[in-house]
C-alpha cells in the first residue's frame, strides 16, 4: 500500500493535542488498563493478542495518532512503583528502573558521579518537556537507531532485565537491539530494569553528537570510554579497557571492536594513531543514507567526530593520576 509512504521514516513526532475540552483525537479506539503491579501488567499483556505497553507515551502516542499502530489494549505501566528509581549495585554499578524518567537520569548525582558519559548524553535527548515524561525503559524498548539510551547501554555493556510469563531473564545490551525499532523483547514481556556494571577505576570518557537542530535525533554520535590498566608505580601503565560506540550510523548503536583493539594496550595516543583509529571506524560502519545525510557524509561525521571524541577522552585520561 502506498499510503505508508506519506509517513515519516523515523519516529513521527506529532504530539497529541490532549486538552480536556477537546475531543478530537486521532488514534483508533482502544481499551485502556492501568495496573498497579508488574504481575497484573503481565497478566493483562497475556490476555490480549494485540496489547501494547505505554510508559511515557512520547514515542507511542505519535505512532497511535498516525495509526501506524492500532492496538486493542493499552497497558499503562506508569503506576507500577516497583519499576521506578536508580539504585547502586556492587562494583560501582547502577541499576535503573524502566520507569525512570529521562529527566531523573539527567539530574541524578549518582549517575553523574559514576557514569558522567550518561549524564552528558542525556542533555541531547529531545527537549525538556519530552525528558520529563519519556522513560528509560521506553527509550530502550522503542530502540530508535538514533536514540542515546540504547547507545549508552551498548557502550557500557548493560544488562537488560526482562519480565515475562515465565519469570525474569537477562539480556546483554549487544544482543538486545536487533534492528531499527526492533528488540529481543517478546510481545508479552516487560523491560523492568537496566543494569550498568561499574567502570574501571581510572577511566575517562568523551561524548559528542551532531544533529541539525538541538533536540533532534542525531545524524551521528560518538561515545568513548578509555581506562588505564597496569601498575602506575612501576610505570607499567597502559590503556586497558576501551569502548567506542557510535549511533546514527546503522540500524542499531554499534561498538567498533577493531578500533577498540587498536587502542587497547597502547601507552600513548598520538595524532597518527587517532587518525588510524578514526579511519578504521569510518571504514567499518555501514551507514544508510537518508534525506538529511548521505552514507558518505555520515562516514565523514563518524571520522571527524571519532577523532575529536577520542582526543578529548585521551586528554581526560591523562589527567587521571594514581591518587584517584
Amino acid at each position: 500500500m502506498k499510503a505508508a509512504r506519506l509517513l515519516p521514516k523515523s519516529a513521527p513526532l506529532v504530539l497529541l493535542a490532549a486538552s480536556d475540552r477537546e475531543v478530537i483525537m486521532k488514534p483508533a479506539a482502544f481499551d485502556y488498563e492501568r495496573p498497579q503491579t508488574l504481575d497484573d501488567a503481565l497478566k493483562l499483556l497475556a490476555s490480549s493478542d494485540n496489547a501494547k505497553i505505554i510508559a511515557g507515551g512520547q514515542s507511542l502516542m505519535p505512532m497511535l495518532n498516525f495509526r501506524l499502530l492500532a492496538p486493542e489494549l493499552l497497558v499503562d505501566i506508569s503506576r507500577i512503583d516497583e519499576l521506578r528509581g536508580i539504585r547502586e549495585t556492587k562494583g560501582r554499578g547502577l541499576s535503573v528502573g524502566a520507569l525512570t524518567r529521562h529527566h531523573e537520569m539527567e539530574t541524578s548525582k549518582l549517575v553523574e558521579e559514576r557514569f558522567p558519559v550518561i549524564h552528558e548524553a542525556m542533555q541531547y535527548v529531545a527537549h525538556l518537556a519530552i525528558r520529563n515524561r519519556g522513560t528509560i525503559g521506553g527509550s530502550l524498548s522503542h530502540a530508535d537507531p538514533a536514540a542515546e539510551l540504547p547507545m549508552m547501554a551498548v557502550l557500557l555493556d548493560a544488562h537488560l532485565h526482562v519480565a515475562g510469563p515465565n519469570g525474569l531473564r537477562q539480556v546483554a545490551a549487544r544482543d538486545f537491539f536487533l534492528g531499527a525499532l526492533t528488540t529481543d523483547l517478546e510481545e508479552n514481556e516487560i523491560l523492568v530494569q537496566v543494569e550498568f556494571p561499574g567502570l574501571p577505576k581510572r577511566s575517562a570518557y568523551a561524548f559528542d553528537e551532531f544533529a541539525q537542530r538541538s533536540g533532534d535525533f542525531a545524524l551521528c554520535s560518538v561515545a568513548v570510554i578509555l581506562s588505564w590498566s597496569g601498575n602506575f608505580l612501576t610505570g607499567g601503565k597502559k590503556i586497558g579497557d576501551v569502548r567506542i560506540a557510535l549511533m546514527g550510523v546503522d540500524e542499531t548503536p554499534v561498538r567498533i571492536e577493531v578500533a577498540e583493539q587498536l587502542l587497547s594496550g597502547a601507552k600513548h595516543i598520538d595524532d597518527p594513531l587517532l587518525e588510524q583509529v578514526a579511519s578504521v571506524i569510518r571504514d567499518t560502519i555501514q551507514p544508510n543514507g537518508d534525506l538529511h545525510a548521505s552514507a558518505d557524509y555520515r562516514r565523514h561525521l563518524a571520522y571527524t567526530m571519532s577523532q575529536q571524541t577520542l582526543k578529548t577522552a585521551w586528554q581526560r585520561l591523562q589527567g587521571q593520576t594514581d591518587e584517584d
Binding site: 500500500m1 502506498k2 499510503a3 509512504r5 506519506l6 509517513l7 515519516p8 521514516k9 523515523s10 519516529a11 513521527p12 513526532l13 506529532v14 477537546e22 475531543v23 478530537i24 483525537m25 486521532k26 488514534p27 483508533a28 479506539a29 498516525f66 495509526r67 551532531f210 541539525q212 537542530r213 538541538s214 533536540g215 533532534d216 535525533f217 545524524l219 534525506l291 538529511h292 545525510a293 548521505s294 558518505d296 557524509y297 565523514h300 561525521l301 571527524t304 567526530m305 575529536q308
Partner: protein
Amino acid sequence: MPESNSSQYVGSRVKRREDPRLLTGRGRYVDDIKVAGMLHIAFRRSDYSHARILSIDTSAAKASPGVVEVFTAKDIEGEFNPVLAQSRMRDYQPTIMQILAADKVRFVGEAVVAVVAESRYLAEDAAALVEIEYDELPLVTDPEQALINSSAKLHEQMDSNVLLQREFNRGDVDEAFYGASVYIKERFRFTRKTSLAMENRTYLAEYNSAEQALTLHTTSQVPGIIRDILVDALDIPGSHLRVVAPDVGGGFGGKTSLYPEEVLAPILAKKLERPVKWTGDRIEDLISTSQGFDEIIDAEIAVDREGRILGLRADVIGDVGAYSIYPWTAGIEPVQVVSFLPGPYKIENYHGRVRGVATSKPPTGPYRGVGRPVSTFVMERLVDMAARELQMDPREIRQRNLVQPHEFPYKAASGIVWDQSGFTQGLNGACEAIGYDGLRRTQAQARAQGRMVGIGIASFAELTGIGSRLSASPGMPINTGTETASISVDSTGGITARFGVTSYGQGLETSLAQVVADELNVEISQIRILQGDSAAVSHSTGSYASRGAVLGAGAAILACRALDQKLKAVAAILLSSSAEDILIRDGVFSGPGSDEKLTFKDLAKAYYSQMGLIPAPIRNEIGELSATQMYDPEWGTTSSATHIALVEIDPDTFKVKVDKYVVAEDCGQMLNPMIVDGQVHGGVAQGIGAALYEEMIYDEQGQNLTASLVDYVVPSATEIPRMDVVHLDLEKPKTLGGVRGMGEGGTIGAPAAIANAVADALAPLGQQVTTLPVTPQRIFELVQAAKANQ
C-alpha cells in the same frame, strides 16, 4: 483648525493587546468553536501523484459506526459553480479547482473522498475503509521534463503543462554582454518550502435552512475574498453568506488562498443541514496547503571593470504544482521572481523570461516574500560573484549600483517604479551597525587560522501597500488596492473600529488601535477593534503582501477624520462653540463658548438619547456618529533594507552557525517599533529556515518525503541568533500616515544574506552556493568537490 493630535501612541512601543488572550490560551480559533450537532470530516486522499480513478467503493465506509454520509466528486456534482483563477496575463491557462478529485488525481494528498461522521475518530476509521482503484498515468514530477514533454499532460484539455509565460525586456542585453569585463553565468535553485503556520487549516460551516444563510468560520487571512468567491460558487447572496476568521494562528501566505476543503464544508453543511467541521492535521497541512517558491533560475550578469552592472539575463522555470491557485493564479510566485530580479540596482539592459509549469505536486501560492526571497537570492549572489571576480568588496559593488537618493522615482528594468526609499542608507546603516570593516579584519584573521568564516550582504527593495493601480498578482482581475475602515461611536460612547484587514498574530489589532486612538484623541483602551469578519465592512481582501498596516492605517485615518467632523459638529452645539474651535483631548471635548467638558459618553448620550438637545434637522443631517471610508494608495510605496550576516562553518560537521545578524530597514513611519522588530525577527527566522534548513522533498514518483516535522526541518528558537535591527529615520512616503509595509522584508533578505555569507566562508575553496537550503549535507558535497578539484 486647532488640532490637538499629540500622536502619543503611533511610534511608541505599545504592548500588544492581543497577547494576554493569545498567550494564556484564551484565544478562540476555529477549532475551539463547537456547535450543537456538529459533524466531522475526514478525507481519503490520493496516494498517487498522477493517476486515473477507476472506481471508488465507499460501502464499507458508509456502514462503519458513526458515519453519516460519504461523498465522492459524483455526489456533489451540480452543487457548486466551477472555481478558477482568472488572469489578464497573455499565455495563461487557468485550471478548474477540484473540490474532490473527479476523474483523476494530480498530486499525492489531493482529497478524493470525504467521510462525514459523528466524531473525527469515527470518520478516520471509516476513511481507512474506502477502496479506490487507480490506473497510474505518466509521471509529471520534473518541471523541466514537464516543460518539453507534452505527451504527459497533467490537464488534458490544455495545450501543454505550461500554465503561464512572461517576458520582460529593457535595452539591448546582447550588446551589454558583449562589452562586459566580467561575465557570470550560473544555475540557481530555490527549493520548495511550506509556510507552516502553527495552526493547521480548519473550516466550520453552518447552514441555517430557515434563513437560508450560511456562516463559514475559516482559518483565513482573506475572509473577504473567500466570501466573494463562495457567493459565486454556491449561489448564495452575499447578505446571507458570512465568512469569519476568528483568531488565526499564523498565515505566512498559506492562508491567503481558497482551498477545496473550504468550499466543500459549506456544500456539505447545506446538504446535510448540520454543522460540519474539518480540522486539518499536520500531515494534511504538509501535503495540501499551498507551498512556496520552487524555481530553477538560469541567470547571467555582465559587469564592467568599475563594477557597474551592464546587463542581466534570467530564465526562470517555476514548478507551480498541479493547479493555478485561487485567486492569485500560478503566476504570483514565479512572475515576481523575474519582475523583481533587477532589485534596487540601476540596470539598463535586462531580459527576463519565466515559465510556470504544472507538475503533480500541491499548488504553490503566496509565501511570505513571494518571489522576492528568490529574486534577491539570485541577484545578490550574482553581485557577490561579480565582486569576487573583480576583487572588489561586496559593499563597494553594491554602493556603485544602487539607485542613489537623488535618482528617485526610479523605473526599474522590469517596469517597477521605486519611490524614494533608503537604498544606500540601508546599506551604510547595516555596515555601520555590524562594524563591517572591523568584521572583515576579524574574518581575515580567522581565515589565517583555517577557520571557515563568512560575511554576507543582501540589499533589496519591495513594493508594499499596493493600491488599485497595480494588482497584487500579475493580471489578477480582483481589486487588491483598497481597504475599508468603519468607525462608530455608539449610544454609550463606545468606540468600535471595524476593519477588513485581518490579524493572525502579527499585532495589527494593536497597531490599528494606536492609529484610531491618536486620530480621535482618546485613550487606546477605549477602542474596540473588530476584524476577520466579512460582515464588518462591505469589501475587503484582507492581509497579505505587506498591505495591512499601510491600507488599514490609511482607511482608519480617513474614517477618523470624517467621524471627527461629525463629533465636532455635535460638540459645537452642546458647548455653544463653533466646530472649528472644538478641542478633543484625552477623550474630552471642550470649546471656548462653555466651561463644560464632555466625554465621549456624555456626547453620545446627549446625541442619541437625550431628545431635544440636538435639533432634529441637524441630527437628520449628521446621521449616525460613524464613518466608513475606503483608502486607495494607488501605486503603493517602496520598502527597502540591507541585511548582513556573519556565519561560521564547523569544519567537522559543516553546521552553519549564524554569529551576527543585522538588518537596517526603511519602513517609513513605524506604528509600533516593538511590532516592527517582531516582524523583522520572525521574518529573518523564516528566511534562515529557507537558507539553511527547510526543503519540501519529493521523489520521482511525486511522493512527499518530508510529510512530517521530523523530516521537514524548521529552525527552532535555539537555531535563531540575536538580531540587531536599525530603523532608518528618513523622508516619509506619501501614503497616509507615512507608512511603508514591512511584514515580509525579513524573509526576503535573509536567504540571500545567509547564502552570501556561507559562500564567502567557502570562497577559499573555490566553491559556489547555488542551491538553498545549504544544509550540512550540501556543504559536505561542496567540500568534497573542492577536494576532488585539487
